[in-house]
């Protein structure tokens, strides 16, 4: 990017603080008209904050935004829309209870008559022009996520957006959907739309973008041309050091079956069957990865095995004992199951409690932490000190509130609690979600150590690469069923991708 080229969008010295935390530290960025510009960075690097500034949700403390070399003040989303900036948020900004058409025209000038019929005709024409077919009268909440994303894009295009900002748009898509989505983006760029594509996935950024800017801890650490860059280069820029893409692990050898699940059926919060007829066995020292697009029953499966949600049919057998109908109390007293829930802040921890108290959430009614109904302060504090040491939790004392820890250290507290007492079964649900590369490596190593010890691990994740790296066998969950269980050594990304999308083409022998 030389100065001679015309930058359509230019940022100079953008700084944004939240209290003492500097989310964006004098960011400079240039994006050419009609190009796809990648913005790469780890979780917490400041990507989303920057985008929220561009779309008018946040006001920067310093810096200037230029469109076409003209300084603009984006004081509200309304102004952003008027300036032709359209944002597709990571969490869709669609009202699920409204129809597609209502969502698209929301916020347009006040009228006394909505005239939905005529507008839905307009939108049908527009959607066909861009190859984004939709049913304008469908309720958004009923649509699959891939289609919801189309609605988001149409919403931006309906407002005449020239700049499209996409925040982690592929997180909710299956690999085949991603390919189709990229085609649409290239088409839009060819029609002279300027696209800013935010992601932490190296491969996607490399295959889609023309230029790539890398953010780390709120600063720009480099801008490169995509076809001159490699995965390794970008990873080093993003993390600040070399990154391992492969994990070493010894072969699994035991024949002891730890968990046997037979025809499990679980209902979700709306009382619909979220898990149906799932059967599998899990041996000691084995990691069974569960791949699948978010919302295909992962949560319900994990909760059912952990005993947080009743199974409506089927059986759970742990080390030869039928535990399907055991209460939580029985489980805690007599079983050793470690559960790393999906959301550590809402489910895994009580943020306002200290580290020490979070560590005894499971065992606080038992010795040594509790004697005749009285909590044993000494034992609890001692336990915390030990856990802080052995799990390398970066905290000065066990009295510190968990909310004051970083995401990685919070996850270590969860690990310390769930892995203590050598559980024979571990259910890990998205255990690295939102963690930086260092913390991710730590969590993965900790789980591999448990595997080595002989724990059976159910590893549920939506990140395909992670599943492939960690697992011995891989089950693919689609609409609540295991559509296949594959050997991790021979499974390919393409095959898994097709299975995740519900296509039978990838289905071979289990």
């Amino acid at each position: 990017m030389r100065d001679g080229e015309t930058a359509y969008l230019r940022l100079e010295g953008i700084t944004k603080r939240f209290g003492n935390f500097v989310a964006n530290d004098s960011i400079n960025l240039k994006v050419n008209a009609g190009s796809i510009h990648g913005l790469l960075g780890e979780n917490g690097a400041g990507k989303t904050t920057l985008m929220n500034i561009l779309c008018g949700l946040y006001q920067p403390e310093a810096g200037q935004i230029y469109l076409h070399d003209r300084a603009v003040q984006i004081t509200s989303p309304k102004v952003a829309i008027a300036q032709g900036i359209g944002m597709i948020h990571q969490h869709f900004m669609l009202v699920p209870q409204l129809t597609v058409i209502e969502n698209i025209i929301l916020g347009s000038p006040l009228t006394l008559r909505l005239n939905l019929k005529q507008k839905s005709r307009e939108i049908l024409v527009m959607s066909e022009r861009y190859g984004l077919s939709i049913d304008p009268l469908a309720k958004v909440g009923d649509l699959p996520v891939g289609t919801q994303q189309r609605v988001e894009i149409l919403k931006a295009l309906y407002r005449q957006a020239k700049v499209l900002i996409l925040d982690e748009p592929t997180a909710v898509l299956t690999p085949p959907e991603v390919q189709g989505f990229f085609k649409v983006l290239r088409q839009l760029a060819a029609a002279n739309h300027t696209i800013l594509f935010i992601s932490h996935k190296l491969d996607e950024i490399l295959s889609l973008c023309d230029h790539i800017t890398v953010l780390r801890r709120g600063r720009v650490v480099g801008t490169t041309i995509a076809h001159n860059s490699t995965r390794q280069d970008l990873a080093r820029l993003m993390v600040g050091r070399d990154v391992l893409f492969h994990l070493e692990k010894a072969a699994q050898s035991s024949d002891h079956i730890v968990l046997e699940v037979q025809n499990l059926q679980v209902r979700d919060d709306r009382h619909l069957n979220a898990v149906q007829n799932v059967s599998f066995t899990l041996k000691a020292g084995e990691i069974l990865g569960v791949a699948g697009v978010d919302g295909n029953g992962q949560r319900e499966l994990a909760d059912a095995i952990a005993g947080l949600r009743p199974a409506t049919a089927g059986e759970l057998i742990l080390n030869g004992q039928l535990i399907t109908r055991w209460t939580m109390q029985q489980r805690i007293k007599r079983l050793k199951i470690g559960y790393i829930p999906e959301d550590r802040q809402k489910m895994g921890l009580i943020l306002r409690f200290s580290i020490a108290r979070n560590l005894i959430l499971k065992g606080f009614q038992q010795l040594p932490f509790c004697r005749n109904g009285w909590l044993q302060r000494g034992a609890i504090a001692h336990h915390a000190t030990q856990a802080i040491q052995s799990f390398d939790i970066r905290a000065t004392s066990g009295k510190l509130r968990v909310s004051q820890l970083s995401g990685g250290n919070q996850q270590k507290v969860v690990l310390a609690r769930e892995l203590s007492g050598d559980p024979s079964l571990i259910v890990a649900m998205q255990p690295t979600r939102g963690l930086d590369v260092g913390a991710t490596e730590y969590v993965q190593q900790a789980l591999l150590t448990e595997r080595q010890r002989g724990a059976a691990i159910l590893y549920i994740s939506t990140e395909l690469e992670e599943i492939m790296m960690m697992s011995d066998r891989i089950a693919v969950l689609y609409e609540g069923r295991f559509v296949a269980i594959l050997d991790a050594a021979t499974a390919t990304v393409e095959q898994l991708g097709l299975l995740m999308a519900g296509s039978p083409a990838g289905r071979l022998s289990p």
Binding site: L94, Q97, N103
Partner: protein, 312 residues
């Protein structure tokens, strides 16, 4: 025959009369809650409207000035609720509760000043206007076409609000703000403005319900004249699933129950009157139990909207 017909038309008229304040308050609640602001302050707003209209008509002698005053003061109480809930992000239940308690205290105190502690100072009321021709139809005619202007206004408001809510962009905006405010904000809507407007409108309508109570129904003011009507309206709103037509029908159900219990009392049956007085509230309770889990409120109801926050 003519006796029972007279009873029926009398009963229907009483049902309608008792439903009107509920319906105004419930429609007010609808605006507030559709925009995502919980409004248990309906009771206080109703009571405020009742007192202000009573005091105004007492001093000025003009019913119309009284209605206008009720609208203005109701809007101001709404503004207070909006300021507390939207700007200061106070717990919306607490704010509503504060409004109810303050209204009860203030109106009780002020009414003693204004009406010189005569408990039932008779006031000038709003007269019925018979619509020529239509009012001659048996039963229906006297029920719907021989009424006062406030009832006509209510009958007009129901289709009008339904149209506004579902067929205009203002209604679309209102619904979006109540379901997913951040989505509305990114679409260029000012969540703040929409919520202020809705909650103020809510105050105006609930206050109008109070004005009806005083100017048409009882024609005097006394302490705690609202007697839980705001809460019944809230139940009707939930029972009517936040839809204007079914909400007003729910109000009619509660109004009819109230009229019924008054008639049972008049028959002098051997039932303690306390039980009969409870009837509408018990019906409301059963209605809510029957609907448990089936009625889904606006998704953002009761949740303050924070514009700049990291947790999304």
């Amino acid at each position: 025959m003519s006796d029972s017909a007279a009873f029926l038309s009398d009963y229907l008229a009483a049902s309608l009369r008792l439903s009107v304040p509920l319906a105004f308050a419930a429609l007010g609640g609808l605006f507030s809650e559709r925009s995502g602001v919980l409004n248990i302050g309906l009771e206080g707003m109703l009571l405020t409207g009742a007192f202000v209209s009573a005091a105004t008509v007492f001093y000025t002698g003009s019913v119309w000035v009284a209605i206008l005053a009720a609208l203005i003061v109701g809007g101001l109480v709404g503004l207070l609720h909006a300021y507390l809930c939207v700007t200061l992000r106070v717990d919306q239940l607490v704010s509503g509760l504060a409004i109810n308690l303050s209204a009860a205290g203030l109106t009780a105190f002020l009414s003693r000043l204004v009406f010189n502690s005569k408990t039932s100072q008779p006031l000038q009321g709003l007269d019925a206007i018979a619509i020529p021709g239509l009012s001659q139809i048996p039963i229906v005619g006297s029920l719907f076409f021989n009424q006062d202007p406030l009832v006509y206004l209510l009958l007009l408001l129901v289709p009008l609000i339904t149209y506004l809510l579902f067929k205009t962009s203002l209604g679309l905006t209102l619904r979006a703000v109540g379901e997913y405010p951040r989505a509305a904000e990114t679409a260029g809507v000012s969540v703040l403005f929409v919520r202020y407007l809705s909650v103020m409108l809510s105050g105006c309508l609930a206050s109008l319900g109070g004005a009806y109570l005083v100017l048409v129904h009882v024609k005097f003011f006394m302490e705690d004249i609202s007697a839980g009507k705001g809460f019944i309206a809230l139940a009707a709103l939930i029972f009517g699933r936040w839809h204007p037509i079914s909400t007003v029908l729910a109000c009619v159900l509660f109004g009819a129950t109230e009229a019924l219990q008054l008639r049972i009392q008049a028959f002098g049956l051997n039932i303690p009157y306390q039980f009969l007085v409870m009837l509408p509230y018990v019906i409301a309770l059963f209605a809510l139990i029957g609907l448990a889990g089936k009625s889904t409120p606006p998704a953002a109801l009761g949740i303050p909207y924070v514009k700049e926050s990291l947790d999304d």
